[in-house]
């Protein structure tokens, strides 16, 4: 072959066109309208099918973390209020809900699922203003998943006898459920849908900073005609949660949240016969092998740690990159970070929204400072942040050691710690070297290696060549300090049935 590949002179001259003035390609501040949402000035507690003033007489404000404006006031449930909610749930359990044929219970749950779909846009906006997550996520992820979970468990309600051969399905009684602020309505769905499908009644406490969608859900249960007392809602902070989880007439406690609170609940329940399931923190390992589809792996890593501002218990917060592609991968990741759009969560083009609360922001800042102090190298893209509200720039750390706090402690924010490895054995050893075990990710083009890694990584879910994929039919839960019990899928029914553990 005779050939000549000398086009470079020409290429150079064509490069000069890069200097031509460019189009200002800014995206629309394409703000989702909030007109669709009505927020009351003040909300009571939802007990026995109606909203009531709290006996405590106390209220607390809930704010929009993107503007720091107060959205509403929400009741604090004290001891008498929690008692009333639990008795209402007990009465509803005894008076019919537990004896109702599954096919009838299913009708209510299907109806709730359809009503969630009908009001999806409104609920998505509400979730975004109360919690700070981008509208693109609440609209395209949270709400479709909420409806899907209700549909899925509605389908189980009349098939429980076939779910576990040899087990006669009997509900436990009253479930006390405490949920976090990162996916407020979705965590409600994960808890409430299987509890109702199996014939239990519920007292739910939403997180202090994000009660509004749970309150809207209470309205939906009224419209759906759900019998009074089957679903009850007590709002408040940690004290209210402790009253509920420690209540002697609660048969089952389900908690999603921090490991510290999970441990406290477990000691509170020690010696009692209250059933418990815990879904706690995580410090997931995201492992990138040299033969990974690099550009998609970059997207996977970005999704893994910056989805919902990193307020995700299964966030891929520890990145392990094979040594021979480490620098290339980090360069690509830095370039990609610079294209993330941080800001107004209601803007449809926003990728990263507001940090949920000032307390959380402070915790993130404190851990990031520790990373700098311990000698890791920080990278943050240039980024204009709004003046008001709580914000944190997407952050990478390179040169991280296993012993640094940022690679050990859950940050629960948009902060990624990057480390390298040489061999698959080393990747597994480092990935498992954590008290947590909720989730993990592997990127490689080699199918056998995916299976090899998945066998060895101590995590409840291992995603391969993707991240943060959920389906109501797929169980989810952790090992070690990430908790126990599985939510979702057929396994999720076991949390709410007698004789099953």
């Amino acid at each position: 072959m005779e050939t000549e590949l000398g086009h470079e002179a020409e290429v150079e001259s064509r490069e000069s066109s890069a200097l031509k003035p460019r189009l200002d390609w800014s995206y629309a501040p394409s703000r989702e309208s909030t007109d669709i949402v009505t927020v009351e000035e003040r909300y009571g507690l939802f007990i026995d099918g109606e909203f009531r003033d709290p006996k405590s007489g106390e209220y607390f404000p809930t704010i929009d973390p993107a503007t720091e404006e107060k959205l509403s006031e929400v009741a604090v449930a004290g001891p008498d209020d929690v008692d009333a909610a639990v008795s209402a749930a007990r009465a509803a359990f005894e008076d019919g809900w537990s004896q109702m044929p599954g096919v009838e219970r299913a009708k209510y749950i299907f109806r709730i699922a359809r009503m969630v779909q009908e009001r999806a846009r409104e609920l998505a906006v509400l979730e975004t203003v109360d919690g700070g997550k981008p509208i693109k996520e609440s609209r395209d992820f949270d709400l479709p998943q909420v409806a899907a979970n209700f549909f899925y468990y509605a389908g189980w309600a009349d098939k429980l006898e076939f779910a576990f051969p040899g087990l006669r399905p009997e509900p436990l009684g009253v479930a006390g459920q405490v949920i976090p602020w990162n996916f407020p309505l979705l965590m409600l769905a994960w808890k409430v849908a299987p509890a109702l499908a199996t014939g239990n009644t519920v007292v739910l406490k939403p997180a202090e900073t994000t009660p509004l969608t749970a309150l809207a859900f209470a309205e939906i249960t009224i419209e759906a005609g759900l019998p009074p007392g089957v679903f009850n809602l007590v709002t408040g902070a940690g004290d209210t949660g402790a009253l509920l989880t420690g209540h002697p007439d609660v048969d089952k406690v389900a908690f999603t949240g921090s490991t510290a609170v999970g441990k406290a609940i477990r000691s509170q329940l020690a010696g009692s016969d209250t059933r418990l399931s815990l879904e706690l923190g995580g410090k997931a390992a995201h492992v990138i092998f040299e033969d990974a589809p690099i550009d998609q792996a970059i997207e996977g890593v970005v999704n893994g740690i910056f989805f919902n501002q990193g307020h995700v218990c299964c966030a891929g917060s520890r990145l392990f990159v094979q040594e021979n592609i480490h620098d290339l991968f980090v360069d690509k990741l830095k370039a990609r970070l610079s294209t993330l759009r941080v800001g107004d969560p209601l803007d449809k083009n926003t990728d990263v929204g507001a940090i949920n609360s000032p307390q959380q922001l402070q915790k993130i800042q404190e851990l990031v400072e520790s990373g700098i102090a311990e000698g890791a190298e920080i990278f943050q893209p240039a980024c204009d942040l709004p003046e008001r509200g709580f914000w944190f720039v997407p952050t990478l750390f390179t040169g991280v050691s296993q012993s640094h706090r940022i690679s050990q402690e859950e940050i629960f924010g948009p902060v990624l710690s990057i480390m390298s490895f040489r061999t698959p054995e080393e990747a597994v050893e480092k990935a498992n070297n954590t008290p947590y075990g909720l989730s993990a990710g592997v990127w490689t083009s080699k199918g056998s290696r995916i299976l090899w890694m998945a066998d060895r990584m101590k995590a409840g879910v291992v995603w391969a060549n993707t991240y943060n994929k959920f389906d109501p039919a797929s169980p989810f839960g952790g090992y070690k300090e990430s908790g126990f019990g599985r939510e979702g899928g057929r396994h999720g029914l076991l949390n709410y049935l007698k004789g099953a553990h």
Binding site: E8, V11, E15, Y27, S30, D291, P293, N465
Partner: protein, 318 residues
């Protein structure tokens, strides 16, 4: 075999044989289809500011290769289309000319004459478009003929059969020789991604074409379905980005086929902007190949300006 020192060649093996090219092609990063489709879909939901949209639509006109590639094409039709290319909207002289007209070899002289003295370039498909199923000498002869007839740009097709069977040398050598035959004319290399089927193949063919000398890589002939799709486009952009990082050489891109609405065109611009940046948003580096897109873009521009939609009767067909 002698190779002049070149930046493009810096990523190639020292000795170019089919075996060495095969291992080079296999070293191209793999593509995860699910991930690429997801990323393209998420970019497609971006929304553009109204003022930017007006500008973006005018840019889309400037970036267009107005195309007619039919067996029933006539000199008359080509001359009419060329007039429209120079002045897309006779009632609005603020609308810029399109980048080029794209025609069959036999039509090049008519197009050349019709656009003479304007900024509009003449592009000709060649190498026995759309199949390319002839030997290399015939391809070279056709390329030389269209360049002699006045084509500024040549749109060649790769030998997909050779690519799929693993004869990378054949594909590479064709491009190198066609590039030589092009002289000063710009070479766009059509990968016909609808026939390559997998995104791995798309990425590999993109790298092979760029290393061989393509000034532009182009998705499709428009004669095979699917033609351009956003995931294919995204993967080609990522290949261009990485090729530039490795060699310093900037290569252009042309999605073609199936882009019929202004909304589609804007989606391609969004993906381009997010992946390669504004530097590529210029006719020098980006073209949209289309036969029916122009009037929809003109209608949208008129709508943005007047707030009213006008019927198709108010826009000339050719």
């Amino acid at each position: 075999m002698t190779l002049a020192p070149s930046a493009r060649q810096s990523i190639l093996p020292d000795r170019i044989t089919n075996a060495s090219l095969a291992s080079f092609v296999r070293s191209v990063p793999s593509v995860d289809e699910v991930g690429a489709v997801e990323r393209a879909a998420s970019l497609a939901t971006r929304s553009i500011k109204r003022e930017s949209k007006a500008e973006a639509l005018r840019l889309a006109v400037r970036l267009m290769d107005l195309t007619t590639l039919e067996g029933m094409d006539t000199p008359g039709k080509v001359v009419q289309m060329s007039a429209k290319a120079v002045r897309p909207d006779p009632t609005d002289d603020s609308i810029p000319s399109v980048a080029a007209v794209c025609v069959y070899p036999a039509m090049v002289p008519y197009a050349r004459q019709a656009v003479e003295g304007t900024s509009v370039k003449v592009a000709s498909v060649a190498t026995y478009f759309p199949s390319g199923q002839v030997d290399i000498d015939q391809k070279i002869a056709e390329v030389s003929a269209v360049v002699a007839a006045g084509a500024d740009e040549v749109d060649m097709v790769i030998d997909r059969g050779a690519f799929l069977s693993g004869d990378y040398f054949r594909v590479f050598d064709d491009i190198v020789r066609v590039k030589q035959a092009c002289g000063d004319a710009h070479l766009k290399v059509i990968l016909e991604t609808g026939e390559l089927q997998t995104l791995d193949n798309v990425r590999r063919a993109s790298v092979l074409a760029m290393a061989a000398g393509a000034d532009f890589i182009k998705t499709s002939t428009g004669k095979v379905s699917p033609a351009a799709t956003l995931p294919v486009f995204l993967v080609m952009l990522e290949a261009i980005r990485d090729f530039r990082a490795a060699t310093g050489v900037k290569v252009g891109i042309k999605p073609a086929g199936g882009i019929r609405t202004a909304k589609d065109a804007i989606r391609y611009l969004v993906v381009l902007n997010e992946t390669l940046g504004g530097e590529w948003m210029d006719p020098e580096w980006f073209r949209i190949g289309a036969s029916s897109l122009l009037n929809d873009v003109l209608m949208q521009i008129r709508w943005l300006e007047t707030g009213r939609y006008q019927s198709g009767d108010y826009f000339t067909k050719d």
